[in-house]
Symmetry: C2
Subunit: 421 residues, 2 copies
């Protein structure tokens, strides 16, 4: 804080504005001159004129000063731009809701461009009565609204072999959290009438990859949503417009986008996405398969490499935690690489299988710190260290890295992604 | 629903795509031809190619098919474009979160364009220690995250003299609901040290209108937030970037945007906005003043004039309810202009002073209906009819019209704004 009596509180811009404002007033006409005459010379430019907002925007956009709050890509991460991924700027956000424009996206074969009037969802296979729904059909069925996180199984995947990427946007930015609106999948399956011996469903997308995944029927009948809205408005194209599957708490790959088909069967289909991809190769040579649930995880979003500590003294440590098994009940913070832990303050609502926001307020005297966060969920599960996870899973994995992240805060305020222990 | 065996389920587009796709494949090269060869001719175009999404957008935008979901203006409503208002497309939204780009906006003198590094907030007047905060100062103080509705006092103001505007976007679109992140105003005032005999604060904006309002100190110390984020990202320019005051449950005019000054005093300032504006002239010639609280209100967003009933049979009635006095506990629905009422289903979270989403599923046989909704809050207050409200307030008012809205659903499915009784 600065007390108003502090005479040094004169920003560069205020100086410029004061001088330029008066000069322009004299030079460019009576109206401006009158305006300038009636205001003291240090009144800011934004109070002297009407700003850029005279024309109202039909669809609003962020401030031009917020260029850092954008999705970013890692060009070398995917073989071709058609199979792409972009990351949510977690370091530039707060609260639990991700704005639709900043939700990370991962697509395997471009973004399908579907005319909503031509959209169809087919339910077939082991059902009494195969059905096809138009988008209007879906909109005329009872709706549910749920706030859930969505995390790509490969989030933090680069970190298995040690600290790699310097930025929480890159290490953890394949997670977002929005309010979905749609139809309970259970309701749709009940309308079709699932056969008694059915056990799985296949969900398939309408994009060029025709991405498909097998999902146990029990999950489909539990809490899945055939969703068409995110944060109130229709889904964005890259999120599956007009319809995607919401599979709360499970890896993002099964949240099939541009959903066109649900087939009911009695065994999994062993699609490409669950055989060559989205399995976890262990030390033994065996691979874990159908590892759907995203275990409890957390990360400090600030301070972090993209959000350094600007000043000594009172500072806010802020982060996100989530669990695919239920509600987050506690988040702990360490400032010394895991030796000592204190409980963070969770602020804002705590929903089932949703992000929660935590804070830890601390005084920083400029010493080097090793910042960590550790999430606990309502099942009693505690987020493990990366090393504990590696002991069980080896380092062959790409997916399901929910290990504790360490940020090294340096005396100059910069932050680095590091390994401890 | 359409069963897949129905041979008539061949949309115009599918036909065109089938024919055009094969022709293009033959004409424009081997890759395309190969692709076409391997797919049956009725496979949709969006599965045949990579769509528009090969390049990832840094900041995502809605689908090009969602042109209806935009803010709209009523050009004759304000004297000049500098004093403007745009309306949230409530008919095109669902859930409780309003996307930042669709939040209504009202500004009295353009949209201030403030460089965040030059932003200052001053707290002065009856305090022990006047203080000035930079934006970084505010960001280094403990944060709160709250989901609240924001309603302009003039929302539904045109309706005092009878049904005027045909569209829920225009009759009720000056309300939105987002998650705010910021600093408790109480904390800031405590740092400055409020004098024992202080009773009011003046909040003033940094825009060209220098909009200012008096707010009772008790409210300021209760639940107000000096907010800089909305749905996770920094406030949009038209919402007060970088800082606005959040005054939960109170009329939007006191949620001062581009907040630059908070003065503590022992009486209200009787500013222009609380003398010539934002008072309610009664039949007696007296005017209500400092009528801050937005009473419980609700509206059916669909069906509504901009969202007609497309088909007979099972239909979803959907709407929003909110109260400035606490939580919404019940919403009732009438299909016959208020003679009979049934309880709607509230879906999704219910927060204090926030929008709730309600649904009523009904079978429509094509008869004319008079649709109404009626909100009740936790204080026991019940949303009144427009006529009951007019008896107390007369029709001189502009502000605080929370009367029950009636939509006439006609046999052809069209919906009109009407008066009943």
């Amino acid at each position: 804080m600065i007390e108003p009596t502090d005479k040094k509180r004169t920003s560069r811009r205020k100086f410029l504005v004061g001088a330029a404002g008066l000069a322009a007033g004299a030079a460019t006409g009576a109206a401006r001159a009158d305006n300038a005459k009636n205001l003291p010379p240090d009144v800011a430019d934004w109070t002297r004129n009407l700003g850029e907002g005279v024309g109202v925007r039909a669809y609003g956009q962020p401030s031009k000063y917020e260029k850092d709050a954008v999705r970013r890509t890692v060009p070398w991460l995917t073989a071709t731009p058609e199979s792409s991924v972009s990351f949510t700027p977690l370091h530039a956000l707060d609260g639990i809701i991700t704005p639709n424009g900043l939700c990370f996206e991962r697509h395997h074969g471009g973004i399908a461009e579907i005319e909503p009037s031509d959209y169809r969802l087919m339910i077939h296979g082991m059902v009494d009565k195969p059905l096809t729904f138009t988008l209007d059909d879906l909109k005329r069925l009872p709706r549910v609204n749920k706030i859930h996180f969505l995390e790509c199984a490969a989030n933090s995947g680069m970190e298995w072999r040690g600290a790699q990427l310097n930025g929480v946007q890159y290490t953890h930015g394949m997670v977002h959290c929005v309010q979905y609106t749609g139809v309970s999948l259970k309701l749709l399956l009940e309308q079709a009438g699932v056969k008694a011996n059915a056990k799985w469903i296949l969900a398939e997308g309408g994009d060029a990859a025709a991405m498909n995944r097998s999902i146990p029927l029990a999950k489909a009948l539990n809490d899945c949503i055939v969703a068409y809205r995110s944060n109130g408005e229709m889904l964005r194209p890259e999120q599956g417009y007009p319809v995607r599957l919401v599979v709360p708490g499970w890896e993002g790959n099964v949240w099939v986008k541009w959903l066109r088909r649900l087939k009911v069967g009695d065994q999994p289909w062993f699609t490409r996405e669950e055989t060559s991809k989205y399995t976890d190769l262990l030390e033994s040579g065996k691979a874990r398969q159908f590892t759907f649930v995203m275990d409890a995880k957390s990360v400090i979003t600030s301070p972090s490499p993209q959000a350094p500590c600007k000043q000594k003294g009172f500072n806010i440590l802020s982060g996100l935690a989530w669990s695919g098994r239920g509600k987050i009940v506690r988040v702990d913070i360490s400032l010394d690489g895991g030796r000592n832990w204190r409980t963070a303050r969770i602020d804002g609502p705590v929903f089932d299988k949703a992000c929660v926001r935590f804070y830890y307020e601390f005084d920083w005297n400029g010493e080097a710190l090793l910042l960590q966060s550790r999430a606990m969920d309502e099942t009693g599960y505690v987020q493990p260290s990366k090393d504990a996870l590696r002991k069980i899973r080896s380092v062959n994995s790409i997916y399901h890295n929910n290990g504790i992240q360490t940020w090294a805060l340096k005396p100059d305020g910069e932050v680095e992604n590091v390994e401890v222990g």
